[in-house]
């Protein structure tokens, strides 16, 4: 299984990848993207099985990336990992087709709760 991790912070990408491993998802291929535009391009090029994306990013936000992907016909499973977890943002995320929104800071348990049904 291939997981695309999109965040403009390299440090946060490392933390997300480490937390995936701590949650037991340690045998998957990881692809990194540094903003929403990069994530959009890499979904097309790499065909990941899941996208874990930050929301607030330069060039293209995570939400804009998800909307662009759905407009282009991609149904790739998509979840947000973001520092903002307000009810309004969760609603926006769900309306755009996101499976879940994990608020930062997160733990390995948080990842397990949201990903167990998504990652085989």
């Amino acid at each position: 299984m291939k997981i695309l991790v999109a965040d403009d912070s390299r440090v946060m990408r490392q933390i997300v990848i480490r937390t995936l491993r701590q949650a037991g998802y340690d045998d998957h291929d990881i692809v990194e993207a540094e903003d929403g535009r990069d994530a959009y391009d890499k979904v097309q090029a790499e065909s990941p099985d899941l996208v874990l994306s930050d929301w607030n990013m330069p060039n293209m936000t995570g939400l804009e990336c998800l909307q662009a992907l759905r407009s282009a016909g991609s149904g790739v499973p998509f979840g947000f990992v973001t520092s903002e977890g307000s009810p309004e943002m969760r609603e926006k995320a769900a309306d755009a087709g996101a499976l879940f929104l994990i608020a930062k800071p997160f733990t390995a348990d948080t990842f397990s709760e949201h990903l167990d049904g998504v990652i085989a």
């Binding site: 607030n56 330069p58 930062k104 733990t107």
Partner: protein, 167 residues
Amino acid sequence: MTSPAITELLDEAIVQEIADQAWTALVGEDEVLVPLPGELPADTLSAWVAVVGPWTGSVVLTCGRETAEQLTRALLREHAPAVLDDEDVADALGELANVVGGNVKAVLPGPSALGLPEVGVAPRAVASADTCRVDALWRGQPLTISVQGAVLDAVNADPSYGNGVPL
């Protein structure tokens, strides 16, 4: 319409709790912020995110440069390079400010927008009535988290790209 002062919207205990959660999850399970003031060194670094909404201002994390480097190593763990460059330190401190700021925003009245993290010389604080500041020690080293109202000219100009380096 007068905006509410930050001290009417949250207090130091809420900011401390948010910071504690960020530290435990990101810096390390055993890492604690001791709520005691300390004297910041002369060479400091700040990272902040802007909040623009019914309350407008910034959430600013400030610590000594050496402390910022130690925080960066704690966040990167085994992926920390032997020699950290400024970009790594700015990225790590900015992301800590982003996580704390995002959670501060969540307890403020909305709708509001969060800017991208910036790192550099902190935005100027306004009147103390519109500032909620937490002083803490991490590994014995001082740092401050300040939720401070905006100097309006600076924020209105561009909330995401003020007087620091956009990340």
